[in-house]
């Protein structure tokens, strides 16, 4: 079943969190998404660890991954 194959308990392999293209500083998110703080927050639990992918111009989970992964400075793989 495709659906069950798509579910993971935890990430394996390099994830966006460790990628040079990924940015998820809550203050940055609030700065970029003007109006977010009016009725929500960059520091809210619902936002989990999501952030920007500067490579694909997406807003996604820190636990995602993709073939364009580039280790961020300080990450050793």
């Amino acid at each position: 079943m495709k659906i069950f194959n798509s579910i993971q308990l935890r990430s394996s392999g390099p994830i966006c969190q460790e990628c040079a293209y990924f940015q998820n500083d809550p203050a940055l998110i609030e700065q970029v998404y003007r109006g977010l703080t009016a009725m929500s927050s960059g520091f809210a639990s619902v936002r989990d660890q999501d952030g920007f992918c500067l490579c694909h111009q997406l807003y996604l989970s820190a636990r995602d991954s993709c073939p364009s992964f580039v280790p961020a400075a300080g990450q050793v793989h």
Binding site: K2, I3, S6, I7, Q8, L9, R10, S11, G13, P14, C16, Q17, E18, F22, Q23, N24, D25, P26, A27, L28, Y33, R34, G35, L36, T37, A38, M39, S40, S41, F43, A44, S45, V46, R47, D48, Q49, D50, G51, F52, C53, H56, Q57, L58, Y59, L60, S61, A62, R63, D64, S65, C66, S68, A72, A73, G74, Q75, V76, H77
Partner: protein, 464 residues
């Protein structure tokens, strides 16, 4: 693969433990429960925190008001100092700058004191000076007409203040009420959430919008406003420009509904419990809805033909919004993420969905709300109604209620101060039409369920 460092510019490292001190949700739990425990310790010692939980009382002339403030000046300064110390600790831990926060919060506190006092003027209801609405309008005027330096935004933490207020609200609601009314709240909210989501989603798709934008808009209208939109955006891997579209639409409609829902409820004389339930079903964001519910509850007993109590409006609102809608955001995000990778596909990322996000995105302040309710129910248990009204209420419950009102006022004012209409993204006509379709569906269905189907239920909820 080995990860060797934990501090990388622009990257917030995930850690199960770090969440406890890096998220506003958890801090609202620590602070809220801390205040309740402290209040209980004082109560056990035969004292009360009421000295520091000072609040304006009824007044009819300016000289009376001036006397109130001059007599209690040291108490107000102590309250400001206590808030400053606690909130500055929070701000430092989550990574904000205390230097920017402190002057901004003093500004918020001073304005909130004026708003709180204005609501206690004996002529306030005659001029419709409902504190939540006054706070919102004042904030909107200051931010959109006068303008404030951007650095002051550090003190306008709408979400943190509202979550702290909701945890404190838990301490004033019996746990039995949550058990009794929770299932109805979940049923009512689930029906409206699903219908609203599908109305927005399919209208958006019909208009040619992308699946992901349609889901982000749908969640914003159906679950918990901006917070739901941003959560689902991350879960479905939305385009970077999608969330601001949803933010603009949610803020636009939420601000309208803060005024419109209490106004309509008042015109048709809904009991406060029913009005609160309708607001909880049809408002989008927690803070916006609480402003509307508190404003409507404040009209009870003022000769306007509105039955019930102010607490009933807050209780029914919170049950529907928090228990019925907010706590399901993780499930929504997970299911939509699964649909995104299995049905909509996107080649840029891998095709796996983490189950952990159900807990990761859970609004943790709800835990504080539930624990606070259970805790005070246990404390109060065993007291007769007479003892409760004579001893427990003035020494324990009233000071907590007063601090809750302060937190809510900070939040309502901050909504206005952070809503700068010219900065909101231009949503475009198609997203606007799709979202509005859901808004119409939501408000009609919300009315039918809150007033016609479950009206008898919400009008009779017991909050003490």
């Amino acid at each position: 693969m080995t990860t060797t460092n934990s501090e990388i510019a622009g990257i917030d490292q995930p850690s199960a433990w770090r969440e406890f001190w890096s998220k506003e949700d958890w801090w609202s739990v620590w602070l809220g429960l801390g205040i309740i425990i402290l209040a209980y310790v004082f109560y056990l010692a035969g004292s009360s925190i009421s000295w520091i939980a000072v609040a304006p009382t009824k007044w009819s002339t300016l000289s009376q008001l001036a006397t109130q403030f001059s007599t209690n000046a040291i108490r107000y300064l102590s309250l400001l100092g206590a808030f400053l110390i606690l909130f500055t600790i929070v701000i430092s831990f989550i990574g904000q700058k205390p230097k920017a926060f402190i002057p901004a919060f003093i500004f918020v506190f001073i304005l909130s004191t004026i708003i709180y006092a204005s609501g206690n003027w004996d002529q306030a209801s005659r001029y419709n000076l409902e504190p939540p609405l006054v706070a919102l309008i004042l904030g909107l005027i200051i931010s959109n007409v006068i303008g404030l330096p951007r650095c002051l935004d550090a003190g306008f933490r709408v979400e943190f203040y509202i979550k702290l207020g909701i945890v404190l609200l838990g301490a004033t609601l019996p746990f039995t009420l949550i058990i009794w009314a929770g299932p109805v709240a979940i049923l009512q909210a689930s029906i409206v959430s699903l219908v609203t989501f599908f109305a927005i989603f399919f209208t958006a798709r019909k208009l040619g919008l992308d699946h992901r934008l349609a889901a982000v808009l749908g969640a914003g209208g159906a679950v918990c406003g901006v917070s739901a939109s941003i959560a689902v955006a991350g879960a479905v891997r939305a385009r970077k420009e999608d969330p601001p579209i949803a933010i603009s639409l949610v803020v636009f409609w939420a601000i309208i509904f803060i005024f419109a829902l209490p106004l309509v409820s008042r015109a048709i004389h809904l009991p406060t419990g029913v009005g609160g339930a309708w607001i909880g079903t049809s408002e989008f964001a927690d803070a916006a809805g609480l402003a509307a519910a508190q404003s409507y509850g404040g009209l009870a007993g003022k000769g306007l033909g509105i039955s019930g109590t102010a607490d009933q409006a807050l209780a029914s609102y919170t049950l529907i919004k928090v228990i019925g809608r907010d706590i399901w955001i993780g499930i929504w995000a997970f299911v939509l993420a699964l649909i995104a990778v299995t049905v909509w596909e996107r080649s840029e990322t891998n095709s796996k969905v983490q189950v952990g996000q159900i807990w990761g995105r859970f609004p943790k302040f709800v835990i504080g709300f539930l624990v606070a309710s259970a805790l005070t129910t246990l404390i109060v248990h065993g007291n007769t109604l007479g003892d409760y009204n004579k001893l427990v209420k003035p020494a324990l419950i009233t000071p907590i209620t007063s601090l809750r009102t302060w937190a809510f006022t900070f939040s309502f004012l901050s909504i206005g101060l952070t809503t700068r209409f010219r900065e909101l993204a231009n949503a475009g006509i198609k997203p606007f039409l799709a979202f509005t379709a859901g808004v119409i569906m939501n408000v009609i269905l919300g009315y039918i369920l809150s007033v016609i189907v479950f009206g008898h239920y919400w009008s009779s909820i017991v909050t003490h």
